[in-house]
Symmetry: C2
Subunit: 339 residues, 2 copies
């Protein structure tokens, strides 16, 4: 049984009362310098660490924050988490990371567990399947600080940070059009997601501005967000089977982008007749396929901002009523690769 030393142990060893030890360790003003030194020295010598559970129970404060993301094995999220951690670490907060695998049930369980585990706040990027937000609303109403990032929702009023999905998408589509593509198909992520709709809207607007028709036949939904390769391959096959074949594919998400490239390769599609452009934060995407252009989100930065927002919520003395939704621009990586 793992049993670290307690304040009581120190008190007994030093013939002091627990309260004195507690105050000494936290540098309380009432304690004499001498006692403080004795206590801290001894505490260090036995490598004393306070029990966070007891502290949380007492203080309703844990100096840890919970992170809920769909998938760690997704570059965007692991980069965002790195950003979150960098800020959290500086401010003395620990991070507890959980993943949902895009399951609403797991999402609810994780969020509730974190809340009960008395994290001081929650950073969440929604799962693709979630349509019922009551569990979050309840937590939020009960006073748990929540910040949404990337996959945000309208239903809860708080700080949010997301990418300029519309613009990123618009520019990428523009670029395809400029390069002469006439029939641009889309592989879209689950339609419940904010990011999906924004990205699709950017695509539509680009078509419109170029007086090109929007053709629903060219849209394919990948409800599993690219986690199910077969779903993506089927979508690609059905696009290739169209009598009026598309000459480009625009993809609204990272995992789908990868799966699409794989599918095109395995179907022996000609990379010259089929241009591919999509959102991706994979760190190897530039190595994948000669002509793959992509939109990259500033994931690390988004993580940092999200954590800063959460800190603001947590550490604010009075309730915050003015909330901000930050939109971070994306980077477009076209074919002419510099650097």
């Amino acid at each position: 049984m793992y049993k670290p030393a307690t304040i009581k142990d120190i008190a007994i060893a030093l013939n002091l009362s627990p309260s004195t030890v507690s105050r000494a360790l936290r540098d309380g003003y009432e304690i004499s310098a001498g006692t403080k030194k004795i206590v801290t020295d001894y505490a260090n010598s036995i490598n004393y660490q306070s029990n966070p559970n007891a502290l949380s129970l007492k203080n309703k404060r844990s100096f840890s924050i919970g992170i809920v993301v769909p998938e760690l094995a997704n570059s965007f999220f692991s980069q965002a988490i790195a950003g979150i951690e960098s800020v959290a670490y500086e401010s003395g907060y620990h991070t507890i990371i959980t993943q949902t695998h895009d399951s609403s049930t797991r999402e609810r369980t994780n969020a509730n567990h974190l809340a009960n585990r008395s994290v001081d706040g929650l950073l969440i990027s929604m799962s693709s399947g979630t349509t019922d937000y009551t569990f979050l609303k309840t937590l939020h109403k009960n006073g748990l600080p929540i910040v949404f990032f990337d996959r945000i929702i309208d239903e809860i009023e708080t700080f949010k940070v997301t990418s300029a999905n519309f613009t990123g998408s618009y520019n990428a589509t523009q670029s395809l059009i400029k390069s002469g593509r006439k029939r641009i198909a889309v592989l879209a992520n689950a339609p419940q997601l904010s990011i999906t709709n924004e990205r699709l809207a950017g695509y539509k607007k680009a078509l419109e501005d170029n007086k090109m028709p929007y053709n629903a036949d060219l849209i394919r939904w990948c409800y599993k967000g690219g986690n199910d390769y077969q779903e993506v391959e089927n979508a690609v096959i059905s696009l290739l089977a169209l009598t009026d074949q598309p000459d480009a594919i625009f993809i609204t998400s990272d995992r789908i982008s990868i799966s699409c490239i794989r599918a095109l390769k395995s179907l022996n599609a000609d990379p010259n007749t089929m241009a591919v452009t999509g959102f991706s934060n994979s760190d190897v995407v530039d190595l994948l396929q000669p002509n793959f252009c992509y939109v990259r989100q500033k994931a690390f930065e988004m993580g940092q901002i999200a954590m800063q927002m959460l800190l603001k919520l947590i550490e604010s003395k009075y309730p915050i009523t003015e909330f901000e939704t930050r939109v971070i621009d994306t980077e477009y990586h076209g074919m002419e690769k510099e650097n």
Copy 2:
């Protein structure tokens, strides 16, 4: 302030004592069916969740386990974590994931924090820089169940699980030799790591068995494990600059493999004169470069096994004295890609 309902609240609302409520909720045998129903119904209606901090404090048991890995943005680890979670979830355990970015300090902080946070056990894969294991020894001596996976160490006696690094490496090198390669260079990970040495040993043995000389000139160390691209590129440049250029590169780690491919591409090395083979668990590695052969570790499976071992340690009635180090075979993906 987030403040969930407590057992006391329920007790007051239902005019019962806290202990009755507690027992009813945990289906205690002493409680009448009627009371049980009343209590559970009410608890459900207000969405009562027990406070894990209080439980941990009381029971010295948290039903959560801590995970310490170098880097989440590394396919191997995110896959291993998925394996860990799958077992943990089935057994009612939560996982708390932390990453060290290969910093010993972060590693120590994380491990200590998790231990104090009263996780019931620890799953750890060592950071590349760590040479002082006293913090782990201390935790272990104090009774914290620890299981090592992948990057294991000899210094602590407990359950461990790792890959057949020697054999995987041996076979990959054999394969390079069979295909006619004569001068096989190596990009090696930090030499502190168990996996680095095992993989290097496999390489050496393959040379030996083929009566080929081991040439230290062909070995390059990447102490940053591929996180520092420049380090890898420099290594590649220096290999290409050799008067007697290597005709193959064997790489002992995932991140270095990726960086090496990128470096070769940016240096315009001819993929036909320079064969590349390395360890990688990236899910896009097969798309990267036509002739890249790779050794894949069974990461998910390793995670599952590690978690099972940890459960055994945690839930064993009496102290375990017989420890096992499981070695899991690797998959070699050569050039003839089926499927």
